[in-house]
Subunit: 244 residues, 6 copies
């Protein structure tokens, strides 16, 4: 299953995922039996750009070896790290398996800038980033497990791309849909993206209504989850809204 | 001792604890032999509401089991998590033992809102929170070990309330006084709240005076800790202030 | 080697290190065979003062023992912690080996203020700080592994100063140059400070030029690393700039 | 569900569980949707007694508090720890929630001996044991996360018994069936014990046959998992054996 | 460099590596600039078979996903895990990247037996093993990070083989030489195997002589490291031995 | 207090400590307010020599730096590690602060042999050992946190000796009494050694009597802790024994 080409979700599906929270998405995934979709421990760099939606473009690192991972390898423009950066396209999210190690960076400001210029939708690493002062002002959603000034060669050897990887102990297959917000990053398997997007949108509209009722002083009983009376009130409200 | 009803501290005691820092409180507790009152690793969600003071209302979680902890249990308004939320009252702090696990949330925006509407003084969990974007704007002091979008059922089974619990490796008995600020959360045993509040207030007034002297260039010798001369100066200053 | 007096770098060297990032410095250190200069896990307290440059003045802690580390020891102005604070001078960075333990603080607002008043260049601890609300407004670069209200005596016994120490699993020798910024703190061995400062400055100027090109849409090939054409363009640009 | 009385499995079911491995049991549990039945990190004390089967009798600890958890509390024969030891009966496994903390012991040789004398089937703690030299010669299956000489009061406060608990991040309800062997300890929910025991026994007989074939040089293809031909050969072999 | 075919070391080289300790090998690797060759945290299963030497045959796992990693996938004889087991040949060491996760097993007794029957030289995983009671009697050197009864599907998805992997935070390239003994497992890059084997053998003969002298009461000075006199004595001794 | 010379306990005190368990000793220390005397996580190498008693001779390591910690430093017989080995005397326990890091060894078989030949009472490190196959047959009690083949230079720089250190998060002052057995290692402050030894011996004799009663079927009530009747029986028994 993992080796077959996964169809890219339509723009409408991606647009729907832009509107829903990762909290809602993980509930939808749990309803389908998936309890491990959350990439624990990653936070966004740019407070103005926490919202991430895009297709996973994967990059894999293994530990560095002192005789292979020397500064001169970066003279090679075809080094796998550089090649991956030049391979991401519009809508892609560069997802990096750094084995959760944050003592050296996965990449820095210059490469992140190039990823942005190529039209990518974001960057996710379970490792660290360097030049964080630049990245946190970059107009691109970037999630990481922290900052580290050290160049990736000191700890990481970028080995291949577009293979299924582990990122923050979640399986990420190329083409899966990565969604990120204030709560973190989740991975939506490509084949579930459409139905999850649709139902998450519905769930979220209802929960906004429920939240307003709770803010207004309603007890949980009857309100959360909504009983029939609340659902009728919601239906009416939704009708008004869509006609409004 | 832990099973006897603990008298609720008076409003004056709680007001005094509102004014002192957790740093001062832990020093007062250490003077009484308690070295382990700090709930390590928790931070506040809302930068505008870091100050927490209230009585512990405890909630305990054990690990989820896939056959028991399914989404449908939330249809039950008497589910222990919902029941606990509807049981907290004015001045209570909902303290949740999540075994320090942050891969799923202890609760989210809707339940936190209900806790606030019921007049509670705050929420403390050694687990995570979901819908953090909403919680960090909620007018309620909420402390957690992080954010996670995943619903608590994926990892936690809420099992009972108002029993003594562990929270961040500190014992919390129902009725203990939880105090939180920028440095984190401490638990003050109920029977010590009054004397700690009183002496912490004294200590803090003196330390403000000491700090001003250090800022003015005084060396530690004679100033911190204050020697007799400094104490006389402080007494004079305090006299002026109280007359001022 | 470690026991010989290390010459203090000149003001020009320190000024150069003020201008370059820790990312650039670690690359220069890696070019010299040093892969472990980064003190992982430390962040600055005051967002307005992330930039740290100064000479390491070291302080070492071992675990507290309940019969030795009682509150009354702080009555002694010659307690090693107090003595160390009164020993740092202009340009010094107080670097504290707290064994990476953050359940109690290394120091608080009053002592940090005294360090500042004495003209020190900053504070670095792999432990925690208390009174963080005060420290994050202090006009001094302070880096730590977190906040904790508990006084250091509950966990730490300050034992000696100006010996080589471990800080965040990096060797720090008295006189080494500590540099900190948004990515964290690095330790530059004293004997390398001058050449690293010089080459880092060069590297950084070139990388600013490279970054501008990448922002302008240039691909990595030819630009990063710069090929001969890009280097010529840079040389021209640099010439213009220096004449400008 | 967790609060209803769980029927105790019949002696035949317990006898069947005595014969099968925890590896087989976890496969049977996974076939029923339970992926988290293994109490990671626990090993048996007595190499001659690794085999554990019995009903969970639970005991819960919270962190110690210096004013409550003093040596004199052990003068009270009704202290919850002592009471629990005197409450376990034949076939019970004393399962202790020590929050996975091993810096102090959950219990020592004298109490473990009393548990054995009372006819219990074993002891499981996610904490440590003291007097390990004695416990590893005790004729009782005892599993722990390590050894520690320190008495439990230094770290643990035994608070209640026969409530659902967490042990090594697995939910254990009173009456669940604990099974332990060389691979560790698993918890079988009481209501599944009978069917799991039955099918595990079947699975294990087949796997012994498969193992013999693999040892004899057969490739996995056709053998593991067994295809129809292998299953026929097994049926014949099993027939011979039951007639033999 | 990593993608070129690595020549298999000669039988003489492998035989030499059989005779030297991993302690000696890591010293030889450090002399060549490699400080990270040790796969920390792995121990052998069978006390009678701690000695491992062979070529790495790599297998990579990513986290399981509940919809992909169901028990029925093992019906497929071409499942990557089964295929890998049927691909190892004489002299191979099956090296498994399990991301250091030990909550479920990498493989069990039946597959380990098949690996042995195929003539492999051993198994190394940074995860766990199940059916440890069987594996610890298997006539094959097997190293792991622990035991776990749970089948690998509960946590791991075997994804591909013979790619460079991380194992216990060490880079392992297919064809590298794995050496294991009482101290653990080290990975010798294929291109260094011959010279390391040769010099390690030399070093070890000398150290046996040194050890005998230390046991006889000689001080370190002059003996360890050996000065010229000791080296002369060793040369004589070695001469005697080779003539003996 | 820590800098004053600590008197060495008499042979009688050391002999008493040889007879009592670390479990009993930690209880005696807790009775004196010391809850943190246990060096968590260390085990003995030689199953025939788990019993350790001796005076702490301390050795401190900081992290290695690649330019300082090269193999050639071991040519220097006065390297601090070698000097420390040649400084320990009869009755000393070499206690090594390795910051709990086990990726490289603190020392190996040759140095451990020299320590033994010099008459030392044992070795304790919170790091690892190399050449474990030799050390586990050495006639010397040696405790460590594991095995690692890598030479200490790859991770550790031995910096000084006979200063107070941290070992496994316990303060160890030169001259403190280290005691080790199957449960691990504890540090007895020198000034408490005599009274702890005396009372531990008393406690242990009583507990042997209590254990025999529990083995004989007596309930905890009246037996553990012993009530007056049991104490009288013990007194009689002890009288018989001393007259026997």
């Amino acid at each position: 299953m993992s080796t077959e080409p996964t169809p890219t979700p339509s723009p409408a599906v991606l647009a729907a995922l832009e509107q829903v929270s990762t909290a809602t998405i993980t509930t939808q995934l749990m309803a389908r039996g998936l309890r491990n979709a959350f990439l624990q421990g990653l936070t966004y760099a740019n407070p103005a750009r926490p919202r991430l939606v895009g297709r996973a473009f994967t990059l894999r690192c293994i530990p560095a070896r002192e005789d292979l991972d020397v500064l001169s390898v970066f003279q090679d423009y075809d080094h796998p790290q550089r090649k991956a950066v030049e391979s991401v396209g519009p809508g892609d999210v560069l997802v990096i398996d750094a084995r959760g190690r944050t003592r050296a960076a996965s990449l820095g400001h210059i490469l992140a800038t190039r990823v942005k210029v190529r039209g990518a939708a974001g960057i996710v690493t379970d490792g660290a980033l360097r030049d964080m002062a630049g990245i946190e002002r970059l107009d691109l959603p970037v999630f990481s497990a922290g900052a580290a000034p050290t160049t990736n060669l000191a700890l990481h050897h970028v080995v291949d791309m577009q293979l299924p990887i582990a990122c923050a102990e979640v399986a990420v297959y190329p083409g899966d849909i990565m969604v990120g917000d204030r709560d973190g990053v989740v991975c939506v398997p490509a084949h579930l993206a459409e139905e999850v997007a649709h139902e998450a949108l519905e769930q979220e509209r209802l929960e906004e209504f429920v939240l307003a009722r709770v803010e207004a002083g309603n007890p949980l009983r009857g309100t959360y989850p909504p009983d029939e009376a609340t659902l009728r009130a919601y239906a009416e409200h939704a009708g008004h809204r869509s006609r409004g």
